[in-house]
C-alpha cells in the first residue's frame, strides 16, 4: 500500500457544454434557449500505480485520457472520486505536488517561443528551485540521451518538431521529478526521434525509478516501454493488466508460417488450422496451451522438408483494435 505513487479512486469528470446551433434560426435559439448537454469524459476510474512503473494509458480519440491526466496533475478538479499523488490530493495541494511532477503535453510546448532553449531551462531551474550543481549534472545526463546541446542556443520557434519535443522532455525532467506524465509525447515524430524518446523514458525509469504514465496512439511505444497497460474507452476502464497477459487472453492462438521445398503437399495436423498461402507456403494457426511451436514444427518436418519458417507474434494493434471494438459494442 505504501508504495502507491498514484492512487485513483472512482475518479469521474463531467463536462457540461452548450450546444451551438447553426444558421440564423440557430443563432436566435442560442440566444434564448441554449441546449445543455452533459458529457461524462471520465467515469469512475480507479487504479493504483506503484513506484517505478511505466504505465501505458491508451484508448481511442476522445476516450478521456487527457482529462484523466489533467485531473492527476491538478489542472482539472474531479466531479467525483479522488486521486492521490504521493499521498497528496492535487485539489488542495497542487503547488506541492507539481514540485515533484514532470508533465509533457505533446500537442503543446511549455518552452518560451522566442527564446533559446537554454533560457527556458534556466527559468525552469529557478521555478523548481534546483541548485546549480544539481542542474548542471541533470542537464549533462539529459543531454547524453536527448542531445539537446545541439540546439540549446537556438530560439525554440526555429526548432523542428522533434527537437522541440526533445527539449520539452528535458525541460520536464530538469528537476528530476518522481512522476512523469506524458500525453502523446511521440505525436508527429520520425522513427529516430521516437526511438530516442523511448530510450530516454526507459533510462530515466531504470536509473531514477521514475514512475511514468504515458498516453499514445502509437502502440509500438507501448510495446517498447510498458509492462502494464490501462485501456480506457468512453471514460470507462475496459482493461488493466500486464501487456503479455492481455495479448495472451485476447489472442490465445499464434501463427506459424512454413515454406516447404516440395510444391506438392497434403499437410494435416489435428491441433492446427491450416491455410495454404501460395504454392509452397502454409499458415498454421495453433493454440499455445494445446501444442508447443517446437512440437508442431517437428511434426511437420517429419512429413516434409521445411525450407524456411517464421512464428508470428500477435500484433498488439490487432489486440487493441479488438478490445476497442468489443467495448464499443458493449456500449451500444
Amino acid at each position: 500500500m505504501q508504495s502507491a505513487v498514484i492512487l485513483a479512486n472512482n475518479l469521474s469528470k463531467e463536462f457540461i457544454t452548450t450546444k451551438k446551433s447553426s444558421g440564423l434560426r440557430g443563432a436566435v435559439k442560442n440566444l434564448f434557449k441554449p441546449e445543455k448537454t452533459v458529457k461524462r469524459a471520465v467515469d469512475h476510474v480507479s487504479f493504483e500505480i506503484t513506484k517505478g512503473e511505466i504505465v501505458g494509458y491508451i484508448g481511442p480519440n476522445g476516450a478521456g485520457k487527457s482529462t484523466t491526466i489533467k485531473m492527476m496533475c491538478g489542472i482539472l478538479n474531479p466531479t467525483g472520486g479522488n486521486v492521490l499523488i504521493n499521498g497528496m490530493s492535487p485539489v488542495n495541494q497542487r503547488q506541492k505536488i507539481v514540485m515533484d511532477l514532470g508533465v509533457v503535453f505533446g500537442q503543446r510546448s511549455q518552452l518560451y517561443w522566442d527564446l533559446p532553449l537554454g533560457e527556458s531551462f534556466e527559468l525552469l531551474r529557478r521555478i523548481y528551485l534546483v541548485d546549480r550543481a544539481k542542474y548542471e549534472a541533470n542537464l549533462a545526463e539529459l543531454d547524453r540521451i536527448l542531445n539537446v546541446h545541439e540546439f540549446i542556443d537556438t530560439p525554440v520557434r526555429q526548432l523542428s518538431l522533434g527537437q522541440r519535443m526533445r527539449g520539452d522532455l528535458a525541460a520536464a525532467m530538469l528537476h528530476s521529478p518522481s512522476v512523469l506524465f506524458l500525453d502523446e509525447p511521440t505525436i508527429g515524430l520520425d522513427v529516430d526521434v521516437k526511438y530516442a524518446i523511448r530510450k530516454f523514458i526507459k533510462e530515466i525509469n531504470e536509473k531514477y525509478q521514475t514512475t511514468v504514465i504515458l498516453t499514445t496512439h502509437d502502440l509500438d511505444d507501448i510495446q517498447a516501454l510498458c509492462k502494464r497497460i490501462i485501456i480506457i474507452n468512453d471514460g470507462i476502464i475496459v482493461s488493466d493488466s500486464p501487456l503479455e497477459e492481455l495479448i495472451e487472453q485476447e489472442l490465445g492462438h499464434r501463427l506459424l508460417i512454413v515454406e516447404l521445398s516440395a510444391g506438392d503437399f497434403h499437410v494435416t495436423h489435428p491441433k492446427a488450422e491450416i491455410t495454404p498461402l501460395g504454392s509452397n507456403r502454409l499458415q498454421l494457426k495453433f493454440r499455445k496451451d494445446e501444442i508447443s511451436a517446437a512440437a508442431l514444427i517437428s511434426d511437420i518436418s517429419a512429413q516434409y522438408q521445411i525450407r524456411d519458417l517464421q512464428i508470428k507474434e500477435a500484433d498488439i494493434n490487432d489486440v487493441i483494435r479488438q478490445i476497442y471494438a468489443r467495448s464499443k459494442a458493449a456500449c451500444l
Binding site: 444558421g23 440564423l24 443563432a27
Partner: protein
C-alpha cells in the same frame, strides 16, 4: 456578383451570432456618445458660438462623428495582416475571384450590419437624451451622403494600401496604429480642425484627412454650404483617384512578387 453578395450575407450572420459582442460594442459607443456630449456642453457653458458653430451643431457633430467611426471600421487591413502572418494569403490571391472585391464586400457587409446593430440604436439614444441629429436641410443631407461614400472609399483605400504593406514587411507592428491616430486627430473626428491654429488649418486643406470626417459632418450641420460642398466632393474624388492609382500599382507589384516567390 454572387460570391460577393454571399460574403455580405455571411458577415451579417456572423455578426448576429455574436450578440454579446454587439451589445458590448454598443455600450462602448454610448459611453463615447455621452462623454463627448458632456464635454462639449462643459466647453460651451455660457458661450454662444465658436467659429460660427453653436452648441447644438457641435453636439450633432459629435454624434455624426461617432456614427462615421462605426461605418469606417474597416477590416481589410486586419484581414490581410492575419493572413500574411499565418502564411495563407497566397492561397487567397490565387482564388478565382478578385480578393479585394471580396474584402470590399466583407467591409460593406460590416457597414450594413453596423447600420442595423449600432447606428440606428445610437441615433435613437442620441435623439432621446442628447440632441436630435437633424441635417441642416434636405440638400445638405444628400450632399452629406455623397461625401460620406467618398470618405468611405478614401478610408478603405488607405486601409487596403496599408494591408498591402504587410507583404513587404511581414509585421509593421504599430505602424497601422500610428496611422489610425493620425487620422483620428487630423481629420477632426473629435475636435474639428477649425479650432486649430490657422497655419495648421491651411496645411490640412492639402491633405486627405479632413475630407474623411470633418468635411462630410460640416456639410451635415450646415457649416459648409452646398456650393463649397460640391467643390469638396470634387476634391474627395481627386483623392480617391490618387489613392486608387497608388493601390493598383502596389497591388500589381505584390501580385507579381507572389507569383515569383509563391507567397
Amino acid at each position: 456578383m454572387k460570391p460577393y453578395l454571399y460574403m455580405i450575407k455571411i458577415k451579417l450572420l456572423l455578426a448576429l451570432s455574436y450578440r454579446y459582442e454587439v451589445f458590448i460594442t454598443f455600450i462602448t459607443q454610448i459611453i463615447l456618445l455621452f462623454v463627448s456630449s458632456f464635454f462639449w456642453k462643459a466647453a460651451y457653458k455660457g458661450i454662444d458660438s465658436v467659429a460660427m458653430v453653436n452648441e447644438r451643431q457641435m453636439l450633432i457633430y459629435s454624434v455624426i462623428s461617432i456614427i462615421l467611426g462605426n461605418i469606417f471600421s474597416i477590416s481589410v487591413e486586419d484581414s490581410i495582416r492575419q493572413k500574411v502572418r499565418k502564411g495563407n494569403v497566397a492561397v487567397d490571391f490565387l482564388k478565382p475571384v478578385n480578393i479585394f472585391y471580396m474584402y470590399f464586400s466583407e467591409d460593406i457587409g460590416n457597414v450594413v450590419t453596423s447600420v442595423v446593430q449600432q447606428i440606428i440604436p445610437i441615433l435613437i439614444v442620441s435623439s432621446l437624451f442628447i440632441v436630435v441629429p437633424a441635417p441642416a436641410s434636405a440638400v445638405h443631407f444628400i450632399l452629406f451622403l455623397v461625401s460620406v461614400c467618398c470618405s468611405y472609399l478614401i478610408m478603405w483605400l488607405i486601409s487596403a494600401i496599408f494591408g498591402l504593406f504587410y507583404f513587404w514587411v511581414i509585421d509593421i507592428g504599430p505602424l497601422g496604429e500610428i496611422k489610425n491616430y493620425m487620422i483620428l486627430i487630423l481629420s477632426g473626428s473629435f475636435v474639428p480642425v477649425w479650432l486649430f491654429p490657422p497655419i495648421i488649418q491651411k496645411t490640412l486643406v492639402f491633405l486627405p484627412f479632413v475630407y474623411i470626417y470633418q468635411f462630410p459632418i460640416s456639410v451635415f450641420i450646415g457649416k459648409t454650404s452646398p456650393m463649397p460642398a460640391l467643390t469638396g466632393i470634387a476634391v474627395q474624388a481627386v483623392w480617391i483617384l490618387g489613392f486608387g492609382l497608388l493601390f493598383g500599382k502596389i497591388k500589381r507589384h505584390v501580385e507579381k512578387n507572389i507569383m515569383v516567390q509563391g507567397g
